[in-house]
Symmetry: C2
């Protein structure tokens, strides 16, 4: 409250009015002054003054009447302005165990370029960091955007991320833990760079453009070679006291503790992750004497490739269907615990295992019903393997918006 005093009233009001006009413009296409008067409740002279100031600061530009998207439909063109989305760009980068995916978006969130790199054969943090730098250079070149036009960058990584941008406990990328990743990558582009847990970014993407646009309390299950959860509460990411919220791969549901804290894989993910699913299918195929499925699964086992298993299940193979049901039952045991604690609006299942599709979803739903007081609605991820990079874009836009709302948009661009 203290900054709003009669002593600095007029100046503060100008800033508030400019922020209100900018917020209204960012949510819409090109607008006339009359539209903004309606959207903000401000007077016409106040909107005009705010527009002049925002134009000088570079946040808005006049709409182009020759652009079909910007043109007025009839009669003489009224002056219209729009948010200057191209006045800056944000970068979202997914650094995973197998790939790097870099996405570049304008300030309206439109993705203007993306580039991938395969990291299967890279060993150690140095080569992975070099590959990230190369991928960023490529995505900027593809969009013809200069590095100093990037106003915010967010990087997603497996593992627990310390507030200073160092990764703790990231067994899926050997050599990655303990490296000050954020520091290493600053300087590749301009503007702030933040490093976050990949699953936490995926949950933001599901809420933004995925399967959970209406959910306030959301549990996102990243289910693949490992398993983890991202949690939104009241629309906000819940990271936890040690940034370890949602690490349900380490759930230990046995009567006696089975997990060694700090082990590569947690007790729960050893039971339900992709390789456990393939093992269960091999056991079911063996029991049924299904030699063909056994052979196909044996070949896929080394790389934990679930593609042949899911193809067999979709074709109605009984061993494949039974294996999915058995692992869904195990998954439900841990997922039910998370649901009883959180009582979410929605559970979204993503990651490689979610590609099993509706067979998997129906099995999880059935087993979950037997173990929860209030079974939550379930949905499959709509974003596939772009969720982390898209969530990084959303997080970088949030960073820009936060700075916009807490600083004077008319000063220091």
């Amino acid at each position: 409250m203290s900054q709003i005093s009669s002593g600095n009233g007029p100046h503060v009001l100008r800033t508030l009015n400019a922020t209100a006009v900018l917020t209204a413009l960012r949510g819409h296409g090109p607008a006339r002054i009359a539209d903004l008067v309606g959207a903000t409740g401000l007077s016409r002279p106040a909107v005009s003054r705010a527009l002049d100031a925002l134009r000088d600061a570079g946040w808005i530009i006049d709409a182009d009447p020759t652009d079909p998207a910007d043109a007025t439909r009839l009669g003489r063109p009224a002056q219209r302005v729009r948010f200057h989305a191209e006045s800056g760009y944000v970068l979202g980068i997914d650094v995973g165990p197998h790939k790097i995916l870099a996405m570049l978006a304008d300030l309206a969130g439109v993705v203007v370029a993306e580039r991938r790199a395969d990291t299967h054969r890279l060993t150690g943090a140095g080569p992975v960091l070099d590959a990230v730098r190369d991928t960023v250079t490529e995505v900027l070149a593809a969009a013809e955007v200069a590095a100093d036009a990037v106003v915010s960058t967010v990087v997603g990584t497996p593992g627990l991320v310390d507030p200073d941008g160092t990764v703790r406990l990231a067994p899926s990328i050997p050599g990655w833990a303990g490296i000050p990743i954020a520091t290493e990558l600053r300087g590749v582009v301009s503007g702030p760079l933040h490093l976050y847990n990949d699953v936490n970014l995926a949950v933001l993407a599901e809420r933004w453009r995925g399967a959970a646009t209406d959910a306030d309390t959301l549990l996102f299950l990243q289910w693949g070679a490992r398993i983890g959860a991202g949690i939104l509460i009241g629309g906000q990411l819940h990271r936890g006291a040690a940034a370890a919220a949602g690490e349900i791969g380490f759930l230990d549901l046995a009567d006696e503790p089975t997990g060694t804290p700090g082990a590569t894989m947690g007790p729960f993910e050893r039971e339900v992750a992709a390789s456990a699913l393939i093992d269960a299918a091999l056991a079911e195929a063996g029991k049924r004497g299904d030699a063909e499925l056994t052979e196909r699964l044996s070949r896929a086992r080394d790389t934990a490739d679930t593609t042949p298993l899911f193809a067999a299940a979709r074709a109605g193979n009984p061993a494949a269907v039974a294996a999915i049901d058995r692992i869904a039952a195990r998954l439900a045991r841990g997922l039910a615990a998370a649901c009883l604690v959180l009582d979410p609006d929605l559970v979204v299942i993503g990651g490689g295992v979610s590609r099993a599709g509706d067979i998997l979803l129906a099995a999880v739903e059935r087993h979950l019903r037997a173990r929860t007081l209030v079974p939550p609605p379930l949905a499959l991820s709509a974003l596939g393997d772009t969720a982390v990079a898209l969530g990084a874009i959303r997080s970088a836009l949030d960073d820009v918006e936060q700075r916009l709302l807490t600083t004077n948009p008319l000063a220091g661009r």
Copy 2:
């Protein structure tokens, strides 16, 4: 933003300034104008105008220089004002399976009276509601406060509470579910009345005046005849999509589902609640041929009274200590799941079983370490069986503050 326009600027500023001054006064004792200028950053004339308006609206009064608490220490008395805490009262009521506890507090949160009633022998919702009404009448009479001076009332109850103030699923008070409790109790006092889950109120009390005043993300375990958890995230109560967050009594950790949804007790509480603890101690005493403990526990078993068990454990009885350790191990299995999901700053253990004290706390801590990635700090509740009523007071004060901050404090008292 839209309400802050140049058109209504001076009026809005007056309201904001009055709110700033009132907020500063509520946090402190009597203050001079100079103190408030320092606390708010407002100019001296602006503070004076705000004080005049707040005095007219009844929110503040002149401090009494003859009251030692209000007196200036030296020299001629400067005019000092204070928040008029007695201008209204809030009521917090705990309606439990065994007792009613009603607390009356002024707007500064000072408890001015409390009254208890025993509800052991009451059957059905009607007699319990009558006892609540009587207890409220008594607590108001004890403090000589009129019913129309109560500006907000909060009632805590076991079970899931619907937004309309009806209880669902409250097996611990027979006949209680399905009754529109909030509607039944409105009219007993003036002002709004809200009904919330008891464990959710206890967690607010622990943060306000208990063991968790520094915790932002807090898991409060109510561990007695049953078990449930209250959850604070970012200092805010997390209720969940169906107001069922934290219902960990229904955790089902067995390989095959054991719980019937809607059953009186959930699978997890059947394993760890007070009666399971006594059963475990009876088994340990039998194994050791401890006839004396067996006899004392057999008498306590019907009422699930843990007093003799905890006395024996404190005296070093091996069977009692072993039983506490065994149940602590079972508890850790479910608590670890909640901690892996939430990664809380702190876990506070309350309820009747928490009276076992440090023996229990140390055992839970040890078993939890083997099952969590980041073991959270643990603490025992500091509030005993007043936590729910105190949390109801805190919630009622929050209601008053919310109305104060979202409405004009200078209008419509």
